[in-house]
């Protein structure tokens, strides 16, 4: 009895506030837009019983999804989100790997401090960290005035409100997610393996490629997914640092909902976004599972 209560409370909470809301999104994505409150039809009328349910089902259609495939904006936004997420994941990996590598080679008494320094920004507001770059990257910003002062450029570079600013913002905010899993993989590595590789005639670079990188593979995979998955649906970074040319689906969904008040289309956008992310999410879970089994 007590066990049942223990299971039931969190279970029912998640059913009511996670699963049911998601089913509602699915349902509205199949409904028609209407000028009403709420702005869609049909609404499920439970008082009419089975007949009402059948009438409700017969009115659902794939219209919004057809509409999404016909309008350029949407599929371009999906493509561009995936592309931006992919490029910024690679950039984060390039920036994060040397840091994680250096942390793993630092003296053991330094490691907790270094680890805390990587985690600390994670506790600081995401919004503030993105905002900090607005003052640096703008035309009259610090970076441009510095570059002009040392004479590298004569005209300010336009960085803010471009995709470049979005990449900088993503690398900056998601860097800890890349560093931590790679660091935890590298930290466990036995250094005598590297010595063995060098004794057997590898150069240091070869030893790095043939020993260190494969051994940290699982950390790299985990880090890449931890960056890629949330960046596809990112909203704050493209809205603050991106420009009118930056097309990302999280922003499109937000605007579709709040500015155009088109709930069925916004819901359909959400359903497709989730379909796109299911494959990377499943792959990520599988990688985590493998890691747990390897450790356990």
């Amino acid at each position: 009895m007590r066990r049942l209560t223990l299971i039931a409370i969190p279970y029912l909470w998640l059913l009511a506030l996670f699963l049911v809301p998601f089913l509602i999104v699915l349902k509205i994505s199949l409904s028609d837009t209407a000028i009403a409150i709420p702005p869609y039809t049909p609404t499920l009328d439970l008082s009419e019983g089975w007949a009402g349910f059948k009438a409700f089902l017969s009115q659902l259609d794939m219209e919004n999804f057809t509409w999404l495939t016909q309008d350029d904006l949407y599929w371009k936004a999906y493509l561009s989100s995936v592309r931006i997420a992919f490029i910024s994941t690679i950039l984060t990996l390039i920036a994060g790997y040397p840091i994680a590598y250096a942390m793993a080679r630092a003296a053991p008494e330094w490691r907790p401090t270094l680890l805390m320094l990587v985690i600390l920004p994670f506790w600081t507001s995401f919004l503030i960290r993105v905002y900090a770059w607005m003052g640096i990257l703008s035309n009259e910003g610090l970076l441009n005035s510095l570059l002009i002062q040392i004479g590298l450029i004569s005209e300010p570079l336009t960085i803010l409100n471009t995709n470049t600013a979005v990449y900088i913002g993503v690398v900056y905010t998601y860097l800890p997610f890349m560093i931590l899993p790679i660091y935890s993989a590298l930290e466990k590595m036995d250094d005598s393996l590297l010595e063995a590789a060098e004794d057997l005639g590898c150069s240091r670079l070869q030893a790095f490629w043939l020993v260190t990188v494969p051994l940290s593979k699982q950390g790299i995979i985990a880090g890449c997914f931890l960056v890629f998955i949330p960046v596809v649906g990112e909203f704050v970074i493209p809205s603050l640092l991106g420009g009118s040319g930056t097309l990302m689906i999280g922003k499109v969904l937000f605007e579709e909902f709040f500015n155009n008040r088109d709930w069925p289309v916004a819901s359909a956008v959400a359903v497709i976004l989730l379909l796109i992310l299911i494959l990377p999410i499943v792959l990520f879970q599988r990688n985590e599972q493998k890691q747990r089994e390897a450790e356990g």
């Binding site: 998640l14 809301p21 999104v25 942390m103 506790w123 600081t124 507001s125 003052g135 250094d191 809205s239």
Partner: protein
């Protein structure tokens, strides 16, 4: 012996400079006398004074703190229960769905979580306000809490609990007297994580907040959309300061606790 090369030193220096410089610049410029955020015109605390008179910001800050305290506390209770169910309850009908519902919100894009909760609240006719933000924040942060707590429960020696039960404890007493003190560090860090996630959240709060209650991130977002402002710099500095202080205190406390535990363990071995 591991080799720490010049290359390692350079990557650490550059990496930490990249992580910290933007925030340091933000803090410095919050003390700038000029309204122009990129021209330095001498030291001043005028933006802090103006911030303290801005009632809209103060109201939003108060709402944000109340939401964070309530939602992270409920989330810690629910998340700990969920972790216990995941690790201890064994097989039951619908276990796969349950663990799926715990892990899915962690990777779900915020725009989808926010949209779906809003549609639910409208569907059941719940007015948007502080209550709906609390419900939304509790739901996603309880999943984080349960991941943190269950990783601690997995490594927990179950025989301790069984001993307590054999000695006549009820299951609840065994939990309160044996399990809870041992998993307490994970429960506390789960609460802290839930608290900061709630303080920080913009997207889900934008969907679930109503005209009667606005949170600080929503206010900050609508202000910074228009560009950089010295008042926001001052506000950011205060928030960065609180977080830094909190994290440093927490790590010092846990360090002292672990030193004390080690000393006790050594004393026990000697005795």
């Amino acid at each position: 012996m591991k080799r720490f090369s010049a290359f390692n030193a350079v990557s650490l220096t550059l990496g930490f400079a990249f992580l910290y410089l933007p925030m340091i610049i933000l803090v410095i410029y919050s003390f700038n006398a000029s309204k122009l955020v990129t021209v330095w015109a001498g030291f001043s605390t005028r933006w802090y004074a103006e911030l303290l008179q801005n009632e809209a910001f103060l109201d939003a800050a108060w709402v944000t703190i109340r939401v964070a305290v309530v939602s992270s506390t409920i989330a810690t209770v629910l998340g700990t229960m969920a972790a216990y169910v995941l690790v201890r309850a064994g097989r039951f009908h619908g276990r796969t769905l349950f663990s799926g519902m715990i892990y899915a919100p962690l990777v779900m894009p915020e725009v989808i979580t926010g949209l779906s909760l809003l549609l639910l609240f409208i569907g059941i006719g719940l007015d948007r306000g502080i209550l709906t933000i609390i419900l939304a924040h509790t739901t996603f942060s309880m999943c984080y809490v349960s991941v943190v707590v269950s990783s601690r429960l997995v490594s927990f020696d179950r025989s301790l609990e069984e001993a307590a039960l054999d000695l006549g404890c009820t299951p609840f007493e065994a939990f309160r007297l044996v399990t809870l003190p041992i998993i307490a560090p994970a429960v506390i860090s789960g609460w802290l994580l839930a608290f900061t996630l709630s303080l920080d959240d913009l997207v889900i709060a934008s969907f679930t907040a109503g005209p009667s209650a606005t949170t600080l991130p929503i206010k900050i977002f609508s202000a910074v959309r228009l560009g950089v402002s010295p008042e926001i710099n001052a506000l950011s500095t205060i928030m960065i300061g609180i977080v830094t202080l909190g994290v440093i205190t927490a790590s010092l406390v846990s360090k002292r606790a672990s030193i004390r535990q080690q000393a006790e363990a050594q004393a026990a071995v000697r005795a």
